[in-house]
Amino acid sequence: MTAVTEPMELSRPRWRTTVATPQFASLAILALVLVVFAVGNPNFLSPLNISNMVAYLPELGIIALGMTLLLTAGEFDLSVGAVFALGPVVVMLLAQNGIVDIGPALLIGLLVCVAIGAINGLIVTKIGISSFLVTLSMLLIVRGAALYITQGFPLKSWDQPGFFVTLLAGSFELGSFRLYTSLWWFIALTLLAAYTLNYSKLGNWISAIGSNRNAAIARGVPADTVKIWLFILTSVLAGLAGMISAFRISAASPVAGTGYELEVIAMVVVGGTALTGGHGTIFGTIVGAIMLRAIRNGIVLVGVPGLAFNIFVGAIILVMLILHAMIRNRSTRR
């Protein structure tokens, strides 16, 4: 290896450079949060409670994976919460009115998500409007569409078990834990996203685009195409998460996922991904997703009034971001 030729003064011990990164700071805080909750209420670590947390985790976590890649490339998507609702609403409407079978209905639902992501991406890259404005408008359009086509009412439950329902929302027992198949989706997608970002050629492009778009373009990286596909990916993952959720609770609501866009972005930045692009970490996003889920669950268990919940969530996020900023300022030259 090349390490032999490295000068002594620059080669800090490897463990120190690894630990002094935002994602490991997040991991330390997560461990602290878990310990506090476990001490505060022993039920926090009961199989039932862990099963509950793990049941919800993949739904926001899957969206967070797409959002991590998108943020790393320097863009974000505020329409994911609305897509989370519209995707399953389209599927249920088609399937329940007997227009198409459930399989094709799922496919059409995902194609609607592809279209939404493509429109977001094309407007952001080709017309040059910031992703904040484009996806904020898209949030209203998509949410409005979900409300209009359902006339504002949740769709009646889907009660015909079958291959696709099992595939998306089947459950199984593992010891005293009750787990959902969505967990497998989450794990598989996590591995795929982590591989892509850290080890593939595409991952190098994504980071470079977010870090310095003009430099990436000057090296022949197709920045616009990559961004458009990341918008499509994020949108499709939001729709898929919505479908998983809808099948799990056997209902599709046009107001499902309200506010999810901010919660997902919070998960991603709490994990250590830079909001300004260039630096993304899937590992950190997983930590962030578990952290927000654990806080949401644990704060109630340790006796904080439910209405005070957001104070703690906000405060913890702020602490994380301050920590990340301190780590970054110390290690870089501007």
């Binding site: 090349t2 000068p7 080890y199 190098n204 310095n212 990436a216 000057a218």
Partner: protein, 265 residues
Amino acid sequence: MTAEVLRLANLRKSFGSVSALKDASMTLREGEVVALLGDNGAGKSTLIKAISGVHPVDGGEIFVRGRKVSIRSARDAMDLGIETIHQDTSLAPDLSIARNLFLGREPVTLPFLGVFAPLDFTELRRAASALLKRVGISKNLNADALVNTLSGGERQSIAISRAMQFAAKVIILDEPTNNLGVEETHGVLRFVKEVRDAGHTVLFITHNIHHVFQVADRLVVMRHGEIVAEQVVADTDLLTVESIIMGADMSTLLGGSKNHAEAAG
């Protein structure tokens, strides 16, 4: 006279109703450093963006080693051996030196996976370290270090080394000494000479005429989207060049004071 490497014939480019480039023609020869001068808005940036494929031209012809070529993208330019180091925008600061050196040309294993192909990290580090050593900046740089931990001069050196590594015929430098300290500026200028001595042709865009006299063999002056003068550096002087850039006869403006040129030089 050495062989012609790049020839531009009557390049034209407009942005809306603004003609940024009208009828620009010039020739670059093997192993020379050519300085491209001109005031703000003279068309220097447009010209190099045309050659590097960032903004393809509206009309005119480009020849590489006598062969007519079409440059429609950054990739086209790179494939023709034209490497451009854009001002302040050549590197991705959040990526390591090694990843930056190979950005857009990543060595991969399993290439059939397309953009999902895994990077060949062993090759990436080996090549990056070899390169850093070859260009003489390995002493205190680790190929895995992030670019945002480097100084401005180190970043320029990395960017120029990257251009050299792909055996570029023509290396275009857009104000490479901008925002650099005195010592770092000298480092970069020395590096430019080394690049020429290694056989590359360098097109060097700058506002600083003193730098031209230190490293360039020839100079080309642009004004209002046109090339208004081409001179051999050894045959001219600072005052003459300044007056061409300004589009006025500086010697009359300054009362014919030769001292000014000497003082400024």
